[in-house]
């Protein structure tokens, strides 16, 4: 089928592109579905100075290199927004807004995050009329004007400093006590000493005011509870990000209440063959490098999973002979010897079973599928259907055959 892949990666940021590089190199038929420009949020970064091997590079340029790299391994790219998924079958289905359907054995969720909205009056209505979320895009429109920046993280402070190149004055509204900014220390020091930057502490914004364009903001002091109005022509919101995982709400993937997906160290979600990386998962550090690492891990985990599924389909489910699946642990000698015992018995009775060993350490999914609790365990399958099983060493092998 033309729309059938080994691996589908939703999202073309650093996590998705790294997964694509690993997937492509492992000769998986890999598709990246990306809704905007390749690179995702990294595109909003003018300068990256901590990605190893690149002393200094712009976000979009770094992402172009990632994409080029993925293309050398034969990865396919398609533009589209995934709006629906069905992960309940072995072949997972992904549907775009335009109704295109794609199937894959494994899916990596790497669709990043988007700016969080404060949902205060005026914020939505005056968007593009003075309310902004991207300094690179919009700072220039505020030449010689007064701008308010909400937030004190890296993005808020660094973007705020960029805006001072154009604006007359940048006022930063900060939740914390005087002198405390959430951003890195170098930027904090520069910002606090910046002649065009002012700070309003212990405060947040309650409303953006203006008829056609932004005329000011209502600032609430959280300590005193008092509200004051500050006149300005622009407001830039940098109040954190939310993961763009809303479309997965009914997919069966577990998420926390903010929309982040918990994964294990293999980037596996609660659903078999579905992985989440980068800004979509619960994690400590949200940087290009850590997203890239996640992508690599997920792609390798997906590759092994796909191999497992393929193997299992051809050797077990489509086998003409009955199959004895022996679940063992390579570190457990008793369970290793069990294989020999099974072989001997098979020969002695002339039963011609196909015997397959499944290492619990690497074939976790299979162990889960057959709900294996003790080692060794043997499951007897006839054309994929379980007809008998034996758990632990105590039971006699003869009962099985």
């Amino acid at each position: 089928m033309a729309n059938s892949y080994d691996l589908i990666i939703i999202g073309g940021g650093p996590g998705g592109l790294s997964a694509a590089i690993y997937g492509g190199r492992a000769k998986l038929k890999t598709l990246v579905i990306n809704k905007g420009a390749i690179g995702g949020l990294v595109n909003t970064t003018r300068e990256i100075v901590n990605y190893p091997g690149y002393g200094q590079i712009s976000g979009p340029d770094l992402m172009k290199d990632f994409k080029k790299h993925a293309e050398t391994f034969g990865v396919e790219f398609i533009k589209g927004e995934v709006t629906q998924t069905d992960f309940s079958q072995a072949e997972k289905k992904v549907v775009t807004k335009k109704g295109q359907e794609f199937l894959a054995k494994a899916v990596i969720v790497a669709c990043g995050s988007e700016p969080r909205l404060l949902n205060i009056p005026g914020e939505k209505r005056l968007r593009g009329m003075g309310v902004a979320y991207c300094a690179t895009c919009d700072a220039e429109f505020f030449e010689g004007e007064d701008v308010v920046v909400v937030g004190s993280g890296d993005q808020a402070i660094e973007e705020g400093m960029f805006i001072t190149k154009f604006a007359r004055k940048v006022t930063v509204v900060v939740l914390h006590d005087e002198g405390i900014l959430d951003c890195n220390k170098v930027s904090a020091e520069r910002a606090l000493n910046h002649e065009k930057m002012e700070f309003i502490w212990n405060s947040t914004i309650e409303e953006v005011v203006g008829k056609e364009n932004v005329e000011g903001v209502k600032i609430k002091n959280l300590k005193t509870g008092s509200t004051s109005e500050l006149s300005c022509q622009g407001v830039f919101f940098f109040v954190g990000m939310v993961p763009s995982t809303g479309y997965l709400k009914d997919s069966g993937i577990e998420m926390d209440k903010r929309g982040y997906i918990p994964v294990n160290e293999l980037m596996e979600t609660n659903l078999e063959g579905v992985y989440a990386v980068g800004d979509n998962r619960v994690k400590y550090l949200r940087q290009v490098i850590s997203a890239a690492g996640d992508g690599a891990t997920a792609a390798v985990a997906a590759e092994r999973y796909i191999e497992e599924v393929n193997d299992f389909n051809s050797n077990v489910l489509q086998s003409d002979k009955k199959v004895l699946l022996l679940f063992f642990n390579a570190q457990d000698n008793e369970s290793l010897k069990y294989r020999t015992a099974l072989e001997e018995l098979n020969e002695k009775l002339g039963t011609d079973y196909k015997i397959l060993s499944v290492d619990m350490a690497t074939k976790k999914n299979l162990a889960e599928k057959y709900a294996i609790k003790t080692i060794p365990s043997v499951v007897v399958l006839d054309k994929g259907t379980e007809i008998n099983r034996l758990e632990g060493l105590e039971e006699s092998l003869e009962r099985l055959i």
């Binding site: 905007g36 909003t44 690179t136 895009c137 022509q233």
Partner: protein
């Protein structure tokens, strides 16, 4: 198909003299939201061939145009018909929002 660029010089003619119903997206090269919205318009364009015009203005190349409409950000879609300015849509607009607006104008 890529959108036709309007420069300050040609703007008058296309928008006011011809009076064709159309939209103009004001964008810039390094704006990531623009990069999401422009492809949406490029895909819509063929569907409205000869009925509705699609143009773009690069705000870096033609500063005078964005100043004239006192825009405060990109991307912004400005809608025109019979040389009359009918309003705008700002930020990350979705395909159906644009289509709804076009339908209103063509009615």
């Amino acid at each position: 198909m890529s959108l036709k660029q309007l420069r300050t010089a040609g703007f008058e003619e296309v928008i006011y003299d011809n009076g064709e119903p159309c939209l103009v997206i004001f964008s810039r090269k390094d704006c990531h939201v623009c990069k999401e919205v422009v492809p949406v318009l490029e895909e819509l364009q063929p569907k409205y061939e000869n009925k509705f015009g699609f143009y773009y203005v690069d705000v870096e190349e033609d500063k005078a145009l964005f100043q004239r409409f006192s825009l405060k950000g990109v991307p912004q879609l400005l809608f025109f018909k019979d040389g009359e300015y009918l309003g705008k849509q700002a930020g990350k607009v979705e395909e159906d929002q644009v289509e709804e607006r076009i339908a209103d104008i063509l009615e």
